[in-house]
Symmetry: C2
Subunit: 141 residues, 2 copies
Amino acid sequence: MDNSNFGITKKERDCLLTIKRISSSDFPVKLSELSRSMKIKPPTALELVSRLEKKGLVKKNKGMIVLTERGKKIYRSIVFIHRVFEYFLVNCGVDLQEACNKASKFDYILDEKIARLIFQKIGQPNKCPHGREILEGNGII
Amino acid sequence: MDNSNFGITKKERDCLLTIKRISSSDFPVKLSELSRSMKIKPPTALELVSRLEKKGLVKKNKGMIVLTERGKKIYRSIVFIHRVFEYFLVNCGVDLQEACNKASKFDYILDEKIARLIFQKIGQPNKCPHGREILEGNGII
DNA sequence: CATAAAATTAGTATTATTCTAAATTTTTAA
DNA sequence: TTAAAAATTTAGAATAATACTAATTTTATG
């Protein structure tokens, strides 16, 4: 099934992150926007949104798609885990683009507890290799 | 689909590892043995084996299931990646059982190149936390 | 309001995973 | 060596995730 710590699949993870990324911009998050961003057709996007809705991570507000509190919490966890790994991989000599790519493949599988231990181990760096805050970062991966 | 570096799914990865693990023991790897070990019914095990066969990682030899050269190569990669991560996680303070568990969730997703960089970074340890050789280890995860 | 755009529903397809039941093949033991 | 037991394989079905097209419905907008 999902094999993930947060009970979501890779596509659902991508969907969650895309919704957050679009919300941060000027555009309201409409399905058409989401489907454009994810390069999938609207019914496919709707299917993903519905699944996230069923899982309580997303809701619809006047036709706009927004994250629930739970959705935001999971989003923050995923971003934290992502940045910790990305930082670590780049530190090991992996190129930034690839590190980001690889981190995306398991940031939704691991858990925050483990990421926190790694964060400690690597010296609690302030910023990820993209220059974004690792701790309390609320931006985009 | 598979999201994996080796073009296999998590179950196929588990199947590959189980076949290798059983081969190391006295038992010949028969389907019944595999299905028992994986706690799945024989037709399900057969389905997995057939998929691995189609992908060229496994073949049948007088009713016995064996890894092909390609299967062995991928097996070794997965074990190496697994042990490197397991070592790193335990080193960060993650408990061994959990580290092994987590490593199993992405050892088939990452690639050896990255694992080698991490291996260097963490000081090329000889043995994984289970006490098994990390480099040239051919045993069991 | 009428039309255009967006969202949703309906229906289909594929891949992965898993099962049960039945058929076939192989092994083993009398 | 052959009958019974065990193992394997085939057939058929189900579920979940992903994704599509075509059609319908709803919402916006000129």
